[in-house]
Amino acid sequence: MGEAAKTVIFEIERQNSTDESSYWEKFELPYRANMNVISALMEIRRNPVNIEGKKTTPVNWDMNCLEEVCGACSMVINGKARQSCTALVDQLEQPIRLQPMRTFPVVRDLIVDRSRMFDSLKKVKAWVPIDGTHDLGEGPRMPERKRQWAYELSKCMTCGVCLEACPNVNEKSDFIGAAPLSQVRLMNAHPTGAMNRDERLNAIMGEGGLADCGNSQNCVESCPKGIPLTTSIAALNRDVSIQMFRNFFGSDHMVD
């Protein structure tokens, strides 16, 4: 192995709190085989000393599942938004630059507040209402092949990468982004969820909804779960085109 002193250099954009300005700090860590960005951050936490040898505060980040299922550890790594748990140091160009996803309010260092995504799910009614005053019994059966198709859409972990990559999601616009829109397609595909289809379609015709998509298609290129987000958007565009005419001209097929 010869290279005993091999190291990895990290440049991290840090910020103490939401309202404070950010600053860059560099770290040099000993290289270990198969390390990922999270294990490197853990190393910095264990020994918070920057490249100048000065003791500093440990870098804060968010994480949970460590297997690209929860979406908590999303950050901007070398310019692109992705999960830090699956960002392997061996596959990254050095110095490795870590930044928070600034589409969201920064809580501290690399931690962002993704509440707006969960609010967006409420804004577009991305759930299946099943409550009644009495037992409503079983819902209609879902064809197995449709379930398999819908499963792909259900992989969304609200990680925020599609919003960070989207040029139309920014402080100048209300656009809710691809993730909640795709969830509308999922809920509309559900046999019980389809009973409130028109309500969701009317919601995404609202301000900050579907129409704000500019078709840059960064979302589908960036989605770590490979969700066909732009197909969802185009499919919803078709549904909404029809809904728009139904709303204006009237229809007996508002719900079916």
Binding site: K80, N202, M205, G206, N218, E221, N237
Partner: protein
């Protein structure tokens, strides 16, 4: 009693004014503006058949019945709406082609830059031609364009204007198909890219050939 359009403090999306404005923007870009541009470039192409042919075609267009109403409702109003709302759309985007250098994202940025350039180009073009005719300072014929395009800077400006317009129309046509839910699948969108590329090439050849006929 809580308002019914609120869930745990979050208001459902409503007010579809913006939705309708966006859809109108998309529609007007193709009908009538896209159709007008195609017609305009084809009529210009008469210049390749000589001075007489061009003047005859220009004379025919300028003397269509109700021409002022055709101009107002087919060109001026739709174009102004598309231009001004388009500027608003262009300036609400935060372009990021550097880190996300995917083809569609680059075309997204190009759509916005050509749009902004076209507002300037078309304003100048209308001022230099139609407006001069309206105030009686010039006549819309071969000579007028020959004079304008004899200046190499103006010629370059017009080449850029024509290419921007054909690109903006072709790429806009691609997103029109997505916006109205016509091309949903990835495959349909890919074939739509080939088709709109063809539209861009064909219209560009027609437009550029006409420009070269004046010099």
């Amino acid at each position: 009693m809580l308002p019914t359009n609120v869930l745990r403090g979050v208001k459902f999306l409503d007010n579809n004014r913006e939705f309708l404005m966006r859809r109108l923007h998309s529609l007007l870009g193709v009908i009538p503006i896209g159709l007008f541009l195609t017609q305009h470039l084809i009529v210009n192409h008469f210049a390749t058949q000589g001075v007489e042919a061009f003047n005859q075609a220009a004379h025919f267009m300028a003397n269509l019945p109700f021409v002022i109403f055709l101009e107002i409702f087919v060109i001026y109003l739709p174009l102004m709406y598309h231009a001004f709302y388009g500027l608003y759309i262009a300036f609400t985007a935060k372009n990021n082609p550097g880190h996300y250098s995917y083809m569609r994202n680059i075309l997204f940025v190009a759509q916005r830059y050509t749009g902004i350039f076209l507002v300037v180009f078309i304003a100048w073009h209308v001022f230099e031609t139609r407006f001069q005719v309206a105030i009686g300072a010039a006549e819309a014929d071969f000579n007028m364009m020959e004079n304008i395009l004899s200046n190499p800077f103006m010629f370059a400006f017009y080449v850029l204007g024509v290419l921007s317009a054909t690109f903006h129309l072709a790429n806009g046509l691609w997103s029109f198909f997505v916006t109205w839910g016509i091309t949903v699948s990835e495959k349909a969108q890919r074939y739509s890219t080939y088709f709109t590329l063809l539209v861009f090439i064909v219209l560009s050849i027609i437009g550029i050939r006409a420009l070269f006929a004046f010099v």
